[in-house]
């Protein structure tokens, strides 16, 4: 059975190779091959899951070692997969949601001439993401980590002819690279400290290492997580990443890849648990991003960017939960999974709307769409409900647990975190209600597109609606299902460990407060957007609104602090290289030439000058010979 594990990766990898190397012959049916392989991988995942459930908790983790990848004395990196409870959750999420989104893309990308390549990239992404979650050591994880970055790069920039897409892709990759740097340094630290970077040995030996070293490793892992999961301060790429086709945003930038940071922290629980300072940093990052993303989400008129802000914010929740330690890991993962369902569903819904609206993304140009695309509307509404934590829907269960855990942290810290989480809940409810109102309710504010055609919104084809419906089911039921008898918690416990939190008040109270907060947000949004006409052109807005529209000035900040000085430095160095270093070399050559030109003048052409130089030379020779003796 374990031999299926490599096949999990191999199936989509083969698909990628086939589609990217195969010629135009595959154009007609290549996308079905890709979808089938994704589904196959999902099937393998299910089989392995069933197999795993058949064993008792202690024996559920298995390792399948393929071969030694890099053998250098003392440095052994293996291609080796580890399937445990945490991995299987991700495997199922990735392949499941992934298969659905493959299916969705069949319809969504139907008219793109480069569809074959798109599916190749999607398969490549699946393979990389599976490597990421299946790796049994950090170096292999790093392979997947950068692999998904590559796939993300290729998919964000899929429409390369659009300069904005190409720029966004590059930005995503480079910001991610900054995070990757953290991961490489973390691996180096581990190797220097433990002589290994495989999960088992490192976690086993973690207790021996000093607090400082562990904190350093943990902080570097956090940096990596920030990059991949778009957490402050490496959050700037996610909004731009919406340049990619919408299925990409759903799969990579909502459901799976961006949550890799949460996976990394949870996976490294053994290290984080021993490094409280680093955990504090994690929590702070999570809390800040949670609010940050939510604020950005409120201000965006671009439907995908609003959802992107939301994603950022929700991952902030997860990171925060993960930072809380054993009381939060399982909830972080649980929220991650439910979020995977409803956020993917929301993105697919957004894609469906765009599909019907001539690829319009500005919500101010939508309005009243619920009649035209009912399936989209209902699935979107359910997703929204799940996201804002509407009672009994998925998000309600998972988010409540996190708020619970935040308060359970205890002391002032607990209060601050809890209040942050509740604030986030209010804002989440506000911006999601705003999205729904602007898109599906109110009057039509449709604008003609570039060619002057007014959009004719229509429901999307079956290949698109089926995945939306399936995901909507997930959005509704997953949370409840997981919470039932703490099944999810118990399942994960052998990996993440669990410790019951003790919030200052009963968890039902938290649920009630959270629900009240949610309703407040919904109400506020209704007051602002539901009652009167929405201006087609965005009002100037307050200072905060304007800043939020610019992603709270993150790009401006990066530009001023990094990009501009960076390019100035590059320009200076280019100048220095040609004028300074090379100038020195050329100057040296010129100096020799000049010296030569000057020395030549002693060659006057006059015999008597020559004789003089000989005579002088003789005198010097005689004098120095005598001098040598006297010295």
């Amino acid at each position: 059975m374990n031999s299926l594990i490599p096949l999990l990766v191999a199936a989509p990898l083969a698909g990628a190779a086939l589609l990217l190397l195969g010629g135009r012959a595959l154009d007609r049916f290549g996308h079905w091959i890709a979808t089938a392989l994704a589904a196959l991988s999902f099937a393998f995942g299910l089989a392995l899951f069933a197999d795993m459930l058949g064993r008792d908790a202690e024996h559920r983790a298995v390792v399948e070692r393929l071969y030694t990848w890099i053998p250098v004395d003392g440095f052994q990196a293996d291609i080796s997969f580890q399937l445990d409870q945490l991995s299987i959750v991700f495997v199922l999420l990735i392949t499941g949601v992934g298969s659905l989104i493959h299916l969705y893309s069949v319809g969504y990308m139907a008219h793109d001439e480069r569809r074959r390549r798109f599916f190749g990239y999607l398969n490549l992404f699946l393979a990389a993401m599976l490597i990421l979650v299946l790796a049994d050591n950090y170096l292999l994880l790093y392979v997947g980590w950068e692999g998904v970055g590559l796939a993300s790069y290729l998919l964000i920039g899929f429409w390369q002819h659009k300069p904005s897409a190409a720029t966004a892709a590059k930005k995503a990759f480079i910001v991610n690279r900054v995070g990757d740097m953290g991961l490489s340094v973390a691996i180096m630290l581990m190797f220097a400290e433990f002589g290994s970077f495989a999960f088992g040995p490192v976690f086993g030996a973690a207790g021996d290492a000093s607090q400082g070293k562990l904190t350093a490793i943990a902080l570097m892992l956090l940096l990596a997580a920030c990059g991949k999961s778009a957490q402050v301060p490496l959050q700037s790429w996610l909004g731009d990443a919406m340049e990619g086709p919408t299925p990409v945003s759903a799969l990579i930038h909502a459901a799976t890849m961006v949550t890799a940071g949460v996976y990394l922290i949870t996976r490294s629980a053994a290290i984080f648990n021993l490094a409280p300072d680093a955990q504090t940093a994690v929590v702070v990052v999570g809390a800040v991003t949670l609010v940050f993303g939510a604020i950005v989400g409120c201000a965006k008129d671009d439907i995908k960017k609003a959802l992107a802000g939301s994603t950022m914010s929700q991952i902030g929740y997860m990171i925060m939960a993960a930072g809380l330690g054993p009381i939060g890991y399982a909830f972080a993962i649980m929220h991650l999974v439910t979020h995977g369902f409803f956020k993917a569903g929301l993105f697919l819904g957004a894609g469906s709307v765009m599909h019907g609206m001539n690829d319009e993304v500005n919500m101010r140009h939508y309005g009243g769409l619920r009649k035209y695309m009912p399936v989209t509307f209902w699935t979107f509404l359910l997703g929204t409900g799940a996201l804002i934590g509407f009672p009994l829907l998925s998000g309600f269960w998972s988010k409540d647990k996190i708020i619970d855990a935040a308060f359970a942290k205890g002391g002032a810290e607990g209060w601050i975190l809890g209040l942050c989480a509740l604030t986030g809940a209010v804002i989440t409810a506000f911006y999601m209600t705003r999205v729904v109102l602007l898109t599906f309710f109110g009057e039509k504010r449709w604008q003609p597109d570039g060619d002057g055609n007014l959009p004719h919104p229509h429901e999307s084809p079956k290949t698109m609606t089926i995945p939306m419906i399936v995901l909507a089911f997930g959005s509704v039921f997953a949370g409840g299902l997981f919470t039932l008898g703490s099944s999810f918690l118990n399942f994960l416990e052998p990996v993440t460990g669990h410790q019951e939190g003790h919030p200052p008040f009963n968890s039902y109270v938290v649920s009630v407060i959270a629900t009240v907060c949610m309703l407040a947000g919904v109400g506020l949004a209704y007051v602002m957007y539901g009652r009167g006409p929405v201006p087609v052109k965005a009002p100037v807005g307050s200072l905060l609104t304007r800043a939020a529209r610019r992603d709270l000035l993150q790009d401006d900040f990066n530009h001023a602090v990094l990009v501009r000085p960076g390019s100035a430095l590059a320009a200076t160095l280019v100048w220095f290289d040609s004028k300074g270093l090379d100038g020195f070399v050329n100057g040296l050559a010129a100096a020799i030439g000049g010296l030569s030109g000057r020395l030549r003048r002693i060659q006057t052409g006059y015999v008597r000058t020559y004789a003089l130089s000989m005579f002088g030379g003789t005198l010097v020779l005689v004098a120095s010979t005598l001098l040598m003796r006297s010295v």
Binding site: W145, V185, G195, L573
Partner: protein, 537 residues
């Protein structure tokens, strides 16, 4: 005594003479014969190199397949060849790249001017003969076990290289490209000659010092044995001076910051194939020699200077990448990227850990392959449009998707994407450096971000965006060009997922080198008990 190594070196040498002697003429048929002969010779060389690699036993003695012929007895010089793990893989790299370079430059030496002009009638013969001559000399350098023999060929290869740079450009330069090119060629030669002459002084010094202690030989194994067994003791001051003499030459060739300024000119002005020869093959002799000669002959001085060299290589990594970011010229960008990479290689060597040095050796091979892919595709691109300026391109992926795709793979390899070969080596270098010099290791890691910047910026500016008018109708890669790129891409992938094929050969030689400098890897602070990372099941 086997004749395999001498055959490997002699075949391209003889081929060079043969190619040069082929009947002159500018007719297409004549040219094609010349090219076919040269290609066949390089293919035969590849076959021999593969045979060497196959005959090499990783667990055998350091130098295998040794041959020795008395050459200049008066100075204790014999023409000795021997393959060790490091030399073998680099010889293999050379043999792999040369046929591809020839194929890539198939039309680079076709007469530019109409027939009957002053253009030499032997242009094609000359071009291919020079490439083979370079190959022969590089192979001898990699396989020589005699310091003098190495020196001679290390220096002599400058001459054919010089004519390749100065005589054959990519026709994409401005009106004064001929002037620029001869400037580049002269700069290349003078820089390297200066380095070589300084090394000559050190070679002589070594001989004199060794001679004074009854070891008047240039044989590398004999010298290193004498040094490690204490039969030959070089006074620390003298050792440092000699080390610097050797190192200077290698640092110029490698090139190490701040001795690098010849490289962008040379790579920028020459044909893409020549640029690959420079950066992927010839420059590797420099880094290879640091590993084999600097460390083996002057262990104490190497240790003394290691921190300073590490700092220089670190500067090179960051500086090369930053300057690459600021380039307007595609080939110069690749050149500065190479400077950054050479920083990594040198860093790996002087970190003096097994990971660092194995990584550095792999890095030489991987950088050779990946840069070859990147540069040759860039050359194909440039030959289509006749311009090296990044600004003259845009949207190429729309008209030539395969070209753009392979260019992207080259770029991704350059930025060391995991799964591709350069990642393995770069990571090993970083880890190897980090375990001994953590701060330097961490700063060097910034290099990976900068690499992403220059590689992706180049791709973005040339390949993406709306199709520029100047590139409309640009043909995609032709079969010949695909035949050049495909093996390189395949190797990049293969060595990325299965680097064992090389590490198996390289590791023993690296361990031997480390034992020569009496260095052992820093032990982990809290080693994982009993089972190490590879063994746990």
């Amino acid at each position: 005594m086997s004749y395999l190594l001498s055959a490997t070196c002699a075949v391209p040498a003889a081929g060079a003479v043969l190619t040069a002697a082929l009947p002159a003429g500018t007719g297409e048929a004549r040219r094609r014969t010349t090219k076919a002969v040269a290609l066949a010779v390089s293919a035969a060389t590849l076959g021999l190199a593969i045979a060497v690699a196959a005959a090499f036993e990783p667990d055998g003695p350091r130098y295998q397949l040794t041959e020795s012929y008395s050459w200049i007895r008066s100075f204790g010089i014999s023409f000795s060849l021997g393959a060790d793990g490091i030399g073998t893989v680099l010889a293999l790299l050379t043999a792999v790249l040369v046929p591809l370079v020839m194929l890539a430059g198939w039309h680079d030496a076709d007469p530019a001017a109409p027939e009957g002009s002053f253009e030499s009638k032997r242009r094609t013969q000359g071009f291919f003969a020079l490439i083979l001559a370079v190959e022969a000399m590089v192979l001898v350098s990699f396989l020589a076990t005699d310091v003098f023999v190495f020196y001679v060929f290390f220096e002599a290869m400058l001459i054919p290289m010089y004519f390749l740079i100065g005589g054959f450009g990519d026709r994409a330069g401005g009106p004064d490209s001929a002037r620029q090119r001869s400037y580049a060629a002269v700069k290349f030669l003078l820089y390297n000659l200066l380095g070589g002459l300084v090394m000559l002084a050190a070679v002589i010094g070594l001989y004199v010092v060794a001679g004074d202690q009854g070891q008047a030989t240039f044989s590398l194994p004999a010298l290193t044995d004498a040094i490690s067994s204490g039969k030959l003791v070089i006074d620390p001051t003298v050792q440092r001076a000699l080390f610097l003499g050797f190192f200077f030459a290698f640092a110029v060739k490698a090139p190490l910051w701040p001795l690098h300024t010849w490289l962008p000119n040379a790579m920028g002005e020459s044909t893409a194939g020549t640029a690959v020869l420079i950066t992927a093959v010839v420059d590797k002799v420099g880094t290879f020699a640091m590993l084999r000669f600097c460390l083996g002959l002057f262990p104490d001085a190497s240790k003394t200077f290691a921190p300073a060299i590490l700092v220089l290589s670190l500067i090179g990594i960051v500086y090369g990448a930053l300057v690459a970011i600021g380039q307007k010229d595609i080939k110069r960008l690749v050149a500065y990227a190479s400077i950054s990479h050479f920083g990594f290689i040198i860093m790996g060597i002087f970190a003096m850990t097994s990971q660092g040095q194995s990584g550095a050796t792999l890095y030489m091979v991987n950088h050779g392959i990946s840069t070859a892919a990147w540069m040759l595709v860039a050359g194909f691109l440039i030959s289509r449009r006749g311009s090296r300026l990044i600004a003259d391109y845009g949207g190429v992926q729309k008209v030539a998707p395969v070209l753009a795709g392979t260019f992207l793979i080259g770029g991704l390899a350059t930025l060391s994407l995991p799964g591709l070969a350069p990642f393995v080596s770069e990571f090993l270098v970083l880890v190897g450096t980090f375990t001994r010099y953590p701060v330097i290791g961490i700063i060097a890691t910034f290099g990976i971000v900068l690499a992403a910047l220059y590689a992706l910026m180049l791709y973005q500016r040339t390949m993406t965006g709306p199709v520029k008018e100047s590139v409309t109708g640009m043909p995609d890669l032709k079969a010949r060009e695909l035949a050049v790129v495909a093996p390189l891409v395949a190797l990049t992938l293969l060595l990325g997922v299965y680097p064992q094929s090389l590490t198996r050969i390289v590791n023993p030689a690296v361990n031997d080198t480390l034992s020569q400098v009496h260095r052992i890897d820093p032990a982990p602070a809290h080693p994982v008990a009993a089972t190490n990372g590879g063994e746990q099941k």
